[in-house]
Symmetry: none
Subunit: 416 residues, 2 copies
């Protein structure tokens, strides 16, 4: 099956936005063994959009569209598909009721619903409506003369939810047995080039499965891909290579495929019935934010403190004024007292603390931007790690949050 | 002048890479007033690449290509341009010497240079070579029958350097004084369709400046674009429209161009010398994280509390156990006590608090997922807002954080 992508939106041609929907869809199609031959980006212009869609329908079995389904005059995808596929637009009563219900739920009446919102219930004749679980713009799946057109809204969260819940299961049924099986192994606490060195001979010898490394925000992903007749067969081909990689770099390994560091930490705490409190200085709430993104995190995460002043460190965590005076806030001594203090104050099993300088200001002699200490307390034991990262304020926050979660994950598995 | 972009590389159609070269080039072309009508992404396949380039040369004055200039068999841009433009490939002696010199500099001999590297000295007849100051792949600028083809390597660092040093100055000479001036106005606390309704006649009448709305994560951006001979003239044309938009929707307006909500909040606090403490239940640290992303935020942000248990709300914020028992944690009464409590505990000018149910679990009778209360305390006054959002856990967190920052921004400007 040949697919192509059409990404709609003038803002994409003005360089104001980077398209991440295309890569998201393309990645999933690759997993299904569906070849993508073209991706066309076109502005909010009916003539050009129709022209691009007509060409796509002439040469591809599957055309996936992102964007142009909103309620404004600029949103022209439904009209362009209607013209390119020769299917007049029809109002879908169920979709209209569904849009009305969303307005009723949110605003208590239909008065906030503009006449333009009604346009979102129009679909090319013969379409199957794709529900939008997280927004107001429904999508559609249209089959015409052996071609399939799928239209999804451009808002990334909506597109991802609709693709995963509705489009992917339908495509799975259509695509043949041969597939590209991909398994992602996640590592933290080791750099991309150090990991590449550990795996150098495996990287050099790769054929099927193939092996590639990708770094982002303090973690490294090792992507194993294999062509096989079934998912089981593919995973069987991947298994020995995966085992060898974990044998060499297991200390840094934390999860597989979509698993995030916060997810494996949350799972580990919930499975063991343990509790956590966090004290953050330079990460400013990011660790708490990431952990509380996980559904059910209230089962282990009890409290977070963002202590941006010395006063807060003293009053909320019981850090000794003398320790602050002797060593400054950016010291292993203060990290230790913060970790022990937050654990004791919250009465949790673990207490995690981060203190350091995220920059760009705040550096002092022997205390450069990027210097930080992570403390972790459990029972009467407290450990402290020193870190030093270069980067922007946001990069430093992100890497320290990763490092802190990695320490937490490792400690809970192997003990303090 | 009409331009189009051609992005070359199979990895882009496998979803492994996000294209940032296209937005980089498109942004610069927009500044020059050059319209980009299409961006096509195509794999490393000679037939398809040639087909895409032939179509581009048939409809656009300027075709900018990224990628496919490397030394491997997969790099086919020079061949495809040669075929599409009807210009045979010729070896450029100067480029060959330049490639040889780079190998000599880097490795001390030519033995590391493969025969394929020699391919990089081939260019379509009539090309002007574009030097690569940071890599080994030169690009080219080809004019043929009134059309211009520019080919640059796909490595972002190389493309950016070559575009800025060589391509941009040449394009500036061609494009004349006319430029596209863009101004983005940011709104929060109002939906995209409601804002569109407020501005309906302005949207319908738009010509120059044009006006478009974009929604993301709880905020809406209104983009004003105008063609003018200079930036000053463009801004003068935009000014009356901007004023009219602010007159109608000023209550929701918070910033211009790259300004984020947290940035304008930070600026407002710092300018007035005020301080802030935040208590978060369902947003789980996201508000603190966003505010502490701003450099210099330690000048006004003093403390954050993530209070995921009732015990924490009582011990850290002084919420009354009786209030929790009578109204539950998800109530305006508790939001009020949290806001007043965090302000009093931290001794700050403002105290902001959010409590609610981010889901997917945790709903109770009359307390659905997405229900939340935001409290804001200043002096002896406390206000409480009710919110109800549908969405995923992360979306609800994001929208509540936006709403809380919006309330903060509005209050600090107009009083509680």
């Amino acid at each position: 099956m040949r697919a192509e992508l059409v990404i709609v939106g003038t803002e994409l041609l003005l360089g104001e936005i980077v398209d991440t929907n295309g890569p998201f869809i393309a990645g999933h199609l690759a997993d299904l063994g569906i070849d993508v031959y073209y991706k066309s980006t076109v502005g909010d212009n009916l003539t050009r959009l129709q022209e691009v869609l007509s060409r796509a329908l002439g040469r591809s079995d599957l055309v996936l569209i992102s964007g142009g389904l909103g309620p404004t005059e600029d949103d022209l995808t439904r009209e362009a598909v209607s013209l390119a596929a020769g299917c007049p637009l029809e109002e879908d009563a169920q979709a209209l009721r569904w849009i009305e219900n969303r307005f009723l739920e949110r605003y208590g009446s239909l008065s906030a619903m503009s006449p333009l919102n009604r346009k979102q219930a129009l679909f090319p004749q013969g379409s199957e409506v794709i529900p939008n679980p997280v927004g107001t713009a429904p999508g559609f799946w249209l089959e015409k003369q052996g071609r399939i057109v799928v239209a999804l809204p451009g808002v990334a969260q909506e597109l991802r939810a609709m693709f995963s819940e509705t489009v992917l299961p339908k495509l799975r049924k259509l695509s043949g047995p041969e597939a590209l099986i991909i398994r992602n192994l996640h590592f933290s606490g080791i750099g991309e080039s150090s990991l590449a060195q550990l795996l150098a001979d495996l990287i050099a010898e790769q054929t099927n499965p193939t092996l590639a490394l990708y770094a982002s925000g303090g973690t490294v992903r090792v992507r194993l891909a294999v062509k096989a007749a079934s998912r089981e067969q593919g995973l069987a081909l991947i298994a020995p290579l995966e085992e060898e990689i974990k044998r060499r770099a297991g200390d840094y390994f934390y999860g597989v495929d979509k698993e995030s560091l916060e997810e494996v930490v949350a799972k580990a705490f919930l499975e063991r019935g343990l509790t956590l409190a966090v004290a953050e200085s330079c990460t400013g709430g990011l660790i708490a934010h990431r952990l509380t993104n996980i559904p059910g995190s209230s089962g282990f995460f009890q409290r977070g403190y963002v202590v941006y002043t010395n006063q807060a460190k003293i009053e909320d965590l019981g850090v000794q004024p003398a320790t602050l005076a002797a060593f400054t806030a950016y010291s292993p001594e203060v990290a230790r007292e913060m970790a022990a203090g937050v654990r004791s104050r919250a009465g949790t099993d673990y207490g995690l603390a981060v203190t350091g300088i995220a920059g760009p200001g705040g550096a002092a002699p022997n205390k450069p931007v990027g210097l930080a200490y992570i403390g972790l307390a459990c029972g009467d034991n407290t450990i402290v790690q020193r870190h030093f990262w270069k980067g922007t304020r946001e990069q430093i926050k992100e890497r320290l949050a990763c490092a802190a979660l990695q320490l937490l994950w490792k400690t809970i598995n192997t003990g303090i």
